[in-house]
Amino acid sequence: MRHVIIGAGPAGVVAAETLRKLDPDGSVTMLSSEPEPPYSRMAIPYYLVEQVGEEGTWLRKGDGYFESNGITVRSGARVSNVDTEAKQLGLEGGDTIPYDKLLIATGSQPVIPPLPGVDREGVHTCWTLEDSRHIIKRATEGARVVLIGAGFIGCIILESLVNRKTRLTVIEQQNRMVPRMMDDRAGGLIKRWCQDKGVTVHTSTTVKSVDEGSDGHPLAVSMDNGESVNADLVIVCVGVKANTQFLDGSGVKTDEGILVDRYLQTSVPDVYAAGDVAQGLDFNTGEYTVQAIQPTAADHGRLAANNMAGYKLKHQGSVNMNVLDTLGLISTSFGLWMGVEGGDSAELYDGDRFRYINLQFQGDVLVGGSSLGMTEHVGVMRGLIQSKVRLGHWKDKLKNDPTRIMEAYIACTQAIGHNARVLTA
């Protein structure tokens, strides 16, 4: 069996390793459009501050890891078309690669907004190692940097830019920072935190154009509030979109991402999709959405590989979740953090100390949560959501003190009650 994987991010790598275990006689080929060894974009913020070198971003560390595990990696191989009838891929440059089972794990790419001047030199996205190399060159001490977009990616590289001692301005179209991950109160706290650390933050502000700068700065960014700010580097982080262009004419159906069933199979038999490019089942909503997060990519990769190898495994849905460190202020969100109709919530807000926790319930089951300034036991929010544990009277206790999530989990799932005595009887 010839397994071919397009994409060498977390979904592709986990799938390749899983296939290797489940189908020892088959061949596994992984194609990467970038020249680097398979690496993790999650590690880029740490590469930007030179906490790790390039090899610190690699998904697998050992020398010759993939070769010695029987996984063929072809770097710099860009797929131009997929012929699902003949079961073969066409590469840019003319090569063709036949497959028996195909996994599309091509991830996503940054959206470039149609702004005048966005193609000027010194305007970069922050997505690949190559982008990072450009950013490192320009984001030097004292350099003026403008970050367009304060979503997840914008916020996660914000710290790197501050640590590189740049003079940073952040411009966000929505009314708060990380609008798709945090609510008004938490997003507002993150903004104030950044301002306290010397970052200029404009929210509810739209960029009109990138122009030629003055006073020795090559660039200037004009905003709809009439202001203009000089810049040596402009970083565009306004969102990402699934990499599906090469699928035109393949018969593989796409929407926001590639449409998949509960087995991660696309509309075409023997073609699977995983990770940021796949529109997979959301655990909470029951809808199919592009989550574009690391844990979901790893889940998808493992599930798709099982199904490709003939071990049918049904996707139970992934919980959407995020964790973000904005200049040392750590925030998380899980599941339906924005709440549900007819639901109930618990909240504790201490703005002066930058502490916040919000829990969302449906009946006595936790369906979502978000936190700010907490690093202890946050994962248990996922546990409570995904196990759908009935909280019973613990829901009231959580409404009094939502920080007791760990106690709620232990009390509701572990043998600490009276019956636990049977053990010692």
Binding site: K61, I330, G379, I410, A411, A415, A420, L423, T424
Partner: protein
């Protein structure tokens, strides 16, 4: 044979010696805030429950790590954080549904229980036997049995006490009998 920490909350008195031992072994200071095992208190019930990483087989933290910084320790079965590889991205802290991988701001790394390399100090420090290091098979079975005994029941449902039941006795012929 793999061993695991067996936690028996009903024996725990909340003395926190496990947290003292854990923090001292792992950081060189007596600092319960740095302990990888935590005793949770239920004051209104007069109960305490020690809890830490269960070293799950298909570990969520390990699979979620983007830089291969959480690895299986083949000798003990624990999932260990390689702190020189960990970049501090915290994805494992949200991926672990048991809340037992935590981020430490002062080191910029995540920490979790690694069974002290096969000689866990929490169990050695526990004076009441609430934390023991035993065969993994044993701890799992008893945990399941205890949990089954106190599983939450749907609202209004009656508890399900054992009913009188006809006991079948098979008369097994004695070997070498009369």
């Amino acid at each position: 044979m793999l061993k695991a920490l067996k936690l028996e909350p009903e024996k725990c008195t909340g003395c926190l010696q496990c947290e003292m031992a854990c923090s001292f072994e792992n950081t060189g200071a007596f600092n319960p805030a740095k302990s990888r095992i935590k005793v949770f208190t239920f004051h209104d019930e007069g109960r305490f429950a020690p809890y830490t990483c269960t070293q799950c087989d298909e570990a969520w933290c390990m699979h979620a790590c983007p830089v291969e910084a959480i690895v299986l320790n083949m000798a003990t079965g624990s999932k260990d954080v390689l702190s020189d590889v960990c970049v501090g991205c915290k994805v494992c802290t949200i991926a672990c549904p048991f809340g037992t991988v935590n981020y430490e701001a002062d080191t910029g790394k995540v920490v979790k229980c690694d069974l002290c390399g096969g000689d866990p100090w929490c169990s050695k420090a526990c004076p009441t036997g609430a934390i023991t290091y035993v065969s993994a098979d044993e701890s799992g079975m008893e945990r399941m049995r205890a949990w089954a005994q106190q599983a939450p029941r749907t609202a209004g449902a009656q508890p399900n006490p054992p009913k009188a039941k006809e006991v079948q006795v098979f008369n097994i012929p004695q070997q070498g009998g009369h």
